[in-house]
Amino acid sequence: MQFIDSSAPTFANMLNGQVNLRDAVRRQIDFEVSGKEYKLVDRPAVLIVR
């Protein structure tokens, strides 16, 4: 997960990233869009923040 210049570094974007990280760490990042479900597997990759 990277806070880097390949994403538009608006303050809102950066804070959204932090919210996503917080949810991911607590495994509360499941969501559904257009009928497709996105969720973490039981043993996701280790999170390293850049």
């Binding site: 990277q2 950066m14 280790v46």
Partner: protein
């Protein structure tokens, strides 16, 4: 203020304890470094931050990306500065 300090601090403050509780830890990639004194600064930041949230020192793990020419000639010095928090070096570019 420094964006990298802000990003690190917010993430660390909200997630470090939770990560340790879940069997992981606060792990970071440090890109674009050009001098061992930058590594020393990060080490100081790590020590301060861990102390601030009452986390044992040396819990944080950081991988340094060697992706600049100056850093390529200071790899040992960079590793030495981060010796208590290092999870090695990575080579990019």
């Amino acid at each position: 203020m420094s964006a990298s300090l802000f990003d690190f601090a917010i993430f660390f403050y909200h997630n470090a304890h939770e990560l340790v509780k879940r069997g992981h830890g606060p792990y970071f990639y440090l890109p674009k470094m050009e001098h061992y004194l930058e590594a020393r600064l990060w080490n100081d930041i790590f020590l301060f931050s861990q102390s601030y949230i009452e986390m044992p020192a040396n819990t944080i793990r950081a991988t340094v990306l060697i992706e600049t020419l100056p850093a390529a000639f200071q790899m040992e010095e960079i590793l030495f500065e981060l010796r208590n928090h290092s999870s090695g070096l990575n080579c990019g570019r």
